[in-house]
């Protein structure tokens, strides 16, 4: 969490979380600290006195008796003094300036990343309820420690917000800030595993160590883990209440989805198509909707014209192709199988490595290599002849053609044959064209 700081879900700029939710919670925590600061200082001085006394006298004797008189226990929860009011207050009390500063950063980040999915009142509700549950369970499990140790701090609530975010953004990606000079320090990584690794894995290890008789630090890791789990459960309950479909990413999409009382088109199929397209216009980062769109197009390919296919392919960006190569490869195979061309603008804009990646996926389909060959050839024909990787592509196609059950030949580009032959004469590379000229281009299959 320190090296890779989660800053927002991967959404377009206009859906990115605003600052004010986090700032309001920061303000509340700061004001609460001002109110309790004198008590915390008094408690700290008292505690120093108790330790000096314990060192000067026989060790451990009557220590609990002295600790039971700690000033902080008037307002903070402990195992000996547990009630709901103190549990809630515990979320707003901090032991030092450093403790407060770290939690202010955390609460700001937590409230901010949740704001894309939840209104502020739900964020505040989850923070208080999840934080209190975290503190409560941690107090109950702290059977190895003195019953007069207060459990305070907003960190359980912060982890609750992280847990809620984890559920809401589970199938999507998170943008991280990572302190290094590349891509302005921004990187998007899958929430499902990386967020878990970044935020919770270490806490799980440390909380397991916390339950053992040896103590390593004064941080309440159990409260963090329980807070995170409470956040996950709270988010699941909220999603159920909100009737939030699994493929919807942002609140804007949810509002649009709910407002769809009337169909967008008289034909139900076209209505569905228009709905998915509209959703993608609202949030072009939603890969789940792209997959739904691909399934729809694949299933009813004969019902869609070239313009609609082009509209679909507009959203199938290189990043999506990298992340969902199987879906893309199946769509391309279906298009080639039905002798429908792959939209030219998409081919022209897709980088070479993405095409090879998709070709690798297509090669894994049993007995479908003919479409792979067609796909590579179509791509080659769509490229301008001066593209730097034309020669490489021609060689790949040649290899594929050799390895196919019924060998094919590589279609040369207009006016390219002589150029390629002369180029190959002076190099170790074989000519890109096979001796036998093709009768016609295969791109129109």
């Amino acid at each position: 969490m320190i090296v890779f700081v989660p800053i927002s879900p991967e959404v377009p700029k206009y859906h990115a979380p605003r600052l004010w939710q986090g700032l309001v919670l920061v303000l509340i925590l700061s004001i609460c600290y001002l109110f309790t600061e004198s008590l915390v200082i008094r408690d700290s001085k008292y505690l120093q006195g108790v330790y000096k006394l314990a060192e000067s006298q026989s060790r451990g004797k009557n220590l609990d008796q002295y600790l039971s008189l700690r000033p902080l226990l008037e307002v903070a929860p402990s195992r000996s003094n547990l009630d709901l009011e103190k549990l809630i207050r515990g979320n707003f009390i901090h032991g030092s300036h450093a403790h407060l500063a770290l939690n202010l950063i955390g609460v700001f980040a937590g409230a901010r990343i949740c704001a894309t999915f939840l209104p502020f009142y739900w964020v505040a509700f989850l923070f208080i309820v999840g934080g209190s549950i975290g503190l409560w369970v941690s107090i109950l499990l702290a059977f190895n420690a003195s019953p007069y140790i207060p459990h305070v701090g907003a960190s359980a609530g912060i982890f609750t917000l992280m847990g809620a975010y984890y559920i809401y953004n589970f199938r999507f990606r998170t943008r991280y800030f990572y302190w290094f000079p590349d891509h302005r320090g921004r990187i998007a990584l899958p929430t499902s595993w990386f967020f878990f690794f970044d935020v919770l894995l270490l806490e799980l290890v440390l909380s397991a160590a916390q339950l053992s008789p040896t103590k390593f630090d004064t941080v309440d890791h159990v409260a963090h883990v329980v807070g995170f789990l409470a956040g996950c459960l709270g988010a699941l309950a909220l999603r159920f209440l909100q009737r939030w479909p699994t493929f919807i990413h942002t609140r804007a999409e949810l509002v649009f989805w709910r407002s769809m009382d009337k169909p967008l088109h008289l034909d139900p199929l076209m209505g569905r198509f228009a709905r998915w397209i509209r959703c993608l216009e609202i949030n072009p980062y939603n890969d789940l909707i792209k997959i739904k769109l691909i399934h729809l197009v694949k299933k009813h390919l004969d019902r869609f014209d070239g313009a609609q296919l082009e509209m679909t392919f507009r959203f199938l960006t290189p990043v999506f192709c990298r992340r969902q190569p199987k879906e893309m490869a199946l769509l391309l195979k279906t298009l080639l199988e039905d002798k429908r061309g792959v939209p030219q603008p998409w081919l022209q804009q897709t980088p070479y490595d993405v095409i090879i990646h998709l070709a690798q996926k297509m090669a894994s389909f049993e007995g479908q290599t003919v479409y792979l060959y067609d796909f590579l050839n179509t791509y080659r024909m769509a490229l301008p002849p001066e593209a730097s990787f034309q020669h490489k592509l021609a060689l790949v196609i040649k290899k594929v053609a050799h390895l196919m059950p019924h060998s094919k030949s590589v279609a040369p580009l207009p006016g390219e044959v002589g150029k390629l032959r002369s180029a190959s004469a002076g190099s170790n590379h074989p000519p890109a064209t096979i001796e036998k000229e093709p009768k016609k281009s295969t791109s129109g299959r």
């Binding site: 053992s212 980088p351 690798q360 790949v396």
Partner: protein
């Protein structure tokens, strides 16, 4: 353009292999990783490894106390426990640097930052032998020589560090398509 190898062994030639070669060829053509990004990946890797190892030590210590093998706060733990910690460190370091690079083409931070460690001539992923040489022989040597081995990329046009030269590897920044 990279060196494109024709398939020379018919028994192994397949469409998948031809496409793998195309990917490897693409890696050869990719630009060397910029030095700041390599440094960033290196720092992140060692930071993550340190966090991983220190917390594994804590967990093992807690487990050992729990099963009664050592006592809490023991300043001189028994030899078996120290051996266990050392074995754990080596295993974690092996998995973190060598296995991940062998299997995926880079350590975790390198993969996250879109860097790949590949053979300088063929663009293929490195075998275990060169990886051992790179990670556990050349890197410590480069470090022991006052980090000079890690500063090589600043003075070389191909951006290769001392450990890259020893292992015949290079670190490439692979293309990252935008949305």
């Amino acid at each position: 353009m990279g060196k494109y190898f024709q398939w020379g062994r018919p028994e192994k030639a397949s469409i998948s292999r031809a496409l793998d070669e195309a990917v490897e060829d693409h890696y050869v053509d990719c630009p060397p990783a910029p030095y700041p990004v390599r440094t960033a990946a290196c720092i992140a890797d060692y930071l993550l490894l340190a966090i991983l190892i220190s917390n594994l030590h804590r967990l093992l210590a807690a487990a050992a106390v729990f099963i009664g093998g050592i006592t809490a706060g023991d300043q001189h733990p028994p030899a078996w426990f120290i051996s266990l910690l050392i074995a754990t460190d080596f295993t974690v370091a092996y998995v973190y640097f060598i296995w991940t690079t062998y299997e995926f083409g880079g350590s975790p931070a390198k993969l996250i930052l879109n860097l790949r460690v590949v053979d300088v001539r063929t663009g293929q992923r490195l075998e275990i032998g060169p990886l051992f040489l790179r990670e556990w022989v050349a890197k410590p040597l480069g470090f022991a020589a006052g980090l000079i081995g890690f500063l090589f990329p600043l003075f070389r046009t191909d951006g290769r560090a001392f450990h890259d030269l020893v292992a015949g590897s290079t670190v490439k920044k692979i293309d990252e398509a935008s949305r």
